[in-house]
Amino acid sequence: METPEEQLATLFRLRERALQGGGPERVAQQHARGKLTARERLALLLDPNSFQEIGALASSPLGDEDQRVPGDGIVTGFGKINGRRVAVFAQDFTVMGGSFSAVQANKICRMQDLAIESGIPIIGLNDSGGARIQEGVRSLAAYGEVFVRNVMASGVVPQISAILGPCAGGAVYSPALTDFVIMSESTGYMFLTGPDVIKAVSGRELSTQELGGAAVHCVRSGVAHLSAADDRAVIELIKRLLSYLPQNNNEDPPQIMPYDRADRIEPALNSLVPADERQGYDIHTLINLICDYDSFLEIQPLFAPNAVVGFARLDGYAVGIVANQPAVMAGALDIDASDKIARFVRICDAFNIPLITFVDTPGFLPGVEQEYGGVIRHGAKIIYAYSEATVPKISVVVRKAIGGAYVAMSSKQLRCDLNFAWPSAQIAVMGAEGAVRILRREELRTAENPAQLMEQFIADYRRRYFNPYHAADLGQIDEVIEPAETRPRLIRALEILRTKVQQNPPRKHGLYPS
């Protein structure tokens, strides 16, 4: 029979063992790789003394008694980030390579359940070699337990995944099911099948970074939303991202004290759009001039750069920004841009973040590859997302809004609350040349000087249709505004729409184009 002192001594010994992780050697190896340990990462992420650990002493029942490590390669618990309650888990690579076990899954699932019930964000710091092979199908089943909770939490509480080391095989689906994936550029990588399998199957030799590094997932695949140089930078980015998100789907995002004048007029906007419609300009300039100073956090900045999405603030309130980028592919919408916009609109809608859309697109990108790739169903995602969204929606047509892309980009018919346009707006069914060729085909065919006549018809078409006033006549545009006054206009409109309530019809769920 143990005395109370002996019982306490056992507890303290186990706690101490849990704090050591994989031991000093493994910790030194982790540092040599340029990575922090799980507890060091959590110490950086959370407010001082706010972390309360849950499941610190849980260990795998398999294997020898002396090989068991309390915590089983993962640190889970609750804490605070800038005073806001969050649930966290951090895989500990120093313990059995952070391999995913049934105990790990139980601990993560516990955090997910409590986060959903308490309505608090959940943040996962991933650094795991994959499933624990010794556990066989148990660890595979454990993945499923985590995945289903990822789905249940989706749209209820913000879920953020940081990839700070390996994330391979089935483990990749948990981050992929979360709202945001942030990768470490130096140490993070994720793939379904590793370089060895790729080499065996295709004979192609690739490094882990070439196959699944941040450069791949932030630029080409679009799996990751943000990246940063190392662990510390990723953790800072998590904190910044969280500042735009509410605690749950019943909350508003944080509002900060206004630090930029709400009635700020920006004369530079009046001359931002070039007179030559074939000339591009950087939409970032427009966004930065309109939003609160230094408040724009771009999401997926390198993936599909012909569309720009991100969070910003207007008069201290968080807003979601969607824009076409005329400097890249003239702002045309393609498959990737459609996916990027649609997903971002749904995230904003889920978390009660108003949407501001800046439109300057000549339409969907024409091309055989796009058609074969399914640009129709991908483009439909934008329409679906905007139509379904019930948050305040405001659009500003900056220049081109042509054809189907005009409809898709938060048009009046997609339940957009307020549609503004700049005097430079061109809202039409199709481009002037194409329209004239169809409408004046007979006259052009019989004309003595078709080129001259074509010029006349194009000029006439532009005068009649390439302006915002025709759309304003029809009620498609609520107001044509001076570009310089866009910021105060948006802030006042958002103030009005702050109490907007809109409901969708009852259903199990919509059938989202995929």
């Binding site: 800038n82 005073g83 806001r84 309650r85 309505g119 608090i120 800072e236 904190k239 910044r240 969280l242 500042s243 735009y244 509410p246 605690q247 749950n248 789907n249 019943n250 909350e251 508003d252 995002p253 944080p254 509002q255 900060i256 004290m257 630090y259 230094d294 408040s295 956090l297 201290g316 009660n352 019930t390 109490t499 309530v501 809109q502 409901q503 969708n504 019809p505 009852p506």
Partner: protein, 117 residues
């Protein structure tokens, strides 16, 4: 002439008497004032104290001053970017009051829509 001498004598004597009385009164008043006052405290030491040594911008190098300025501005920017408690005017997840979203009845958006009967 005698009248003149007499007049002069009377004038001088009168004036002397009056001024003597006045001088006597002045002396008595001075004595009264002196005896009426409390004992005078020791006069304070009015020599100025040496100024404490204050580190001024003048004692910092330009690099140090620039580094401090940048650090302060970066800290302020970080607080703003992370919506830290010191710059926050709305606190999500507060346990002290219901969220504005709930208060405005907007949670209906998360429930199934009911047909009008």
């Amino acid at each position: 002439m005698n009248d003149f001498s007499f007049g002069l004598t009377i004038t001088v004597t009168g004036m002397s008497l009056v001024f003597s009385v006045l001088a006597l009164l002045w002396g008595i008043l001075n004595l009264l004032i002196r005896f009426d006052q409390p004992a005078a405290a020791e006069s304070p030491d009015l020599t100025p104290e040496p100024e404490p040594e204050v580190t001024t911008a003048g004692s910092l190098s330009a690099e140090e001053l620039a580094a401090i300025t940048i650090a302060v501005r970066l800290h302020a920017a970080t607080l703003r970017q992370e919506a830290a408690p010191t710059v926050r005017s709305y606190w999500p997840g507060s346990l002290l009051f219901a969220s504005r979203w709930v208060a405005a009845g907007r949670t209906r958006q998360n429930q199934s829509w009911q047909r009008r009967r």
